[in-house]
Amino acid sequence: MKAIDTSRLAVQAIRRYPMRTSMLLTAVAIGVAAVVLLTSIGEGARRYVTGEFAALGTHLLVVLPGKAETTGGGGGAGMMIGETARDLTLEDAMAIERIQRVAQVAPIVIGSGTASWRQREREITVLGTTTEMLEIQHLSMRSGSFLPEIDMDVASPICVLGDNVASEFFGATAPLGQWLRIGDTRCRIIGVMDQAGTAGPFEVDELVIMPVASAQQLFNAPGVFRILVEAVNQESMAAARREIIRIVAARHQGEEDITVVTQDAVLDTFESIFDMITMGLAGIAAISLIVAGVLIMNVMLVAVSQRTKEIGLLRALGAKQRQIISLFLTEAVMLSFAGALLGLLIGELGSRLLGVAFPVLEFVAPLWAMAAAVLTAVISGLLFSILPARRAARLDPVLALAGR
């Protein structure tokens, strides 16, 4: 029997039982639509997060003291397990600033202290840095100004408050020009940050920011916690990274004792997390396709008993068992494929609707998820029809003709 004839017979059978056909189409379509929708949600979330992340600083390199065993992919882990061999210093930062491919540099010193103003007192995190921090981390001011452009190694009794710190200490009072006591020193408040949430690893809203040299004096520590470096452009990232390692090593008696993490590495980690989430969602949705497969089996078994006489007739006319099997399998594959296409359509419509409802996110199901959904639907339709098709083929021709 020719494939085209098998298909034609299958199509005729499909059209003869509209109830059964629409039931199967619906079951398969729901499964495929679920895969498309859920993965488009996962993908939307991934795009949102990586997009936000990329906006934070595209050519950012983070220099931290200590040589991490793992570099590249495990950026987050590298920051944690980096062993402190030798402190990074402000002089290192200044040396890095002189590299041609480096646009700007912000060294960071971080520590905690007790801040007080009149009767109010609380623990705060102090961040010592330079004026470049504002631009590198894409922060913005609510009032006043950020740290002024002064040499890194010059201390100055000034500070900038995070949004929360400002409102907790001063409430309705204007904080600008007030003197805040931190530990043994005092600093004049020259600016208040906009509400910023988290920028990189810092809760900006909870910070008191001061010149890096002042922070070093406050904590009586000569080193810096890390150095943020912005390369001139995306292409020079790798070269800048090599330069930084070389120059700092030269300054550290030839010892390579720093780790340079690029934002790409962090982004990669995020991306792979979200890929996992999307795949998990796809897997959950795929279960509904297996359920659809069970329904296909059920419906095909009913179809076999409905068409017993017809099967008997085909056998009498010389149909081989193999031909009967391929007839039923063709039918099942066609049904599940059509259902899958319908599901793609519904899923696509659904994710467009979601896009209208939540315009912040971009809901686009990944191509692999759509392909996998269609493939799973068709394969599940095929597998679950093998049993009914074989049952049809093995009917005794004499009994089948009699409708028994």
Partner: protein, 226 residues
């Protein structure tokens, strides 16, 4: 052309074994016109199913065109049915969603005959059974007699050597019956072997050779004498 030797077909019904065919010996020559009569349960349908290769003997041998077919596997039996046997059923067994010409094409479709050849041959056969104007009618648009004629067309489209008819007029009025019988007798005149299983004595009488069955045995056969 066909020879049954000591052929038995047993059915297990509950704990009882029913001998539907009980050591049957039968020889059918090319071009014969045979009727098989007998009460219900006498084994005449089983004989027809065995001869049509739809059913297998429990024991004994069946030789078709010189070859022993009792040992063939399912695929080979299907091929033999396709090439050598045409069936005509009491209830026509047309596929309702296919047109007359498509129903007739069905055996050729199963054998993989090219479309063009298939359509031409099916139309030829429908002309031959007097349905030239009704190619595109579906079974529910045809009368009983016309449906049976479509079924006859389908049975002979592969040019089989043996036509097996099980109560071919059982569901027809007398006028349609006459038409149908005339058509199959004409086919017999053209050389095809014809076996008709029937309860109807008038139809049975028309054959040139008459078998009577009871309890799985052929109790009378006027063919050997002829």
């Amino acid at each position: 052309m066909m020879r049954l030797r000591q052929l038995c077909r047993d059915f297990q019904v509950g704990d009882q074994v029913v001998h539907a065919l009980d050591h049957v010996d039968l020889e059918i020559r090319s071009g014969e016109y045979i009727s098989v009569m007998g009460a219900s349960g006498s084994g005449k349908s089983t004989l027809l199913n065995i001869l049509g290769l739809l059913d297998r003997a429990t024991s004994g041998t069946y030789t078709l065109n010189g070859a022993d077919v009792s040992t063939l596997d399912d695929n080979a039996l299907a091929e033999q049915r396709q090439e050598n046997i045409g069936f005509i059923f009491q209830s026509f067994h047309l596929i309702p969603r296919l047109t007359a010409v498509e129903n007739v094409e069905l055996p050729m479709l199963l054998s993989g005959t090219p479309v063009a050849v298939r359509r031409e041959r099916a139309q030829e056969v429908l002309e031959a059974v007097g349905l030239g104007a009704r190619f595109d009618h579906r079974p529910d648009q045809l009368s009983g007699g016309e449906r049976q004629r479509v079924a006859i067309g389908r049975a002979i489209v592969m040019k089989p050597s043996l036509l097996l008819a099980d109560e071919p007029t059982g569901n027809l009025d007398s006028r349609s019956s006459t038409e149908v019988v005339e058509i199959i007798e004409q086919l017999n005149d053209d050389g095809i072997s014809l076996m008709v299983v029937t309860h109807d004595p008038d139809l049975g009488e028309r054959a040139r050779r008459h078998l009577f069955m009871r309890d799985g045995k052929i109790i009378s056969d006027d063919g050997d004498a002829a």
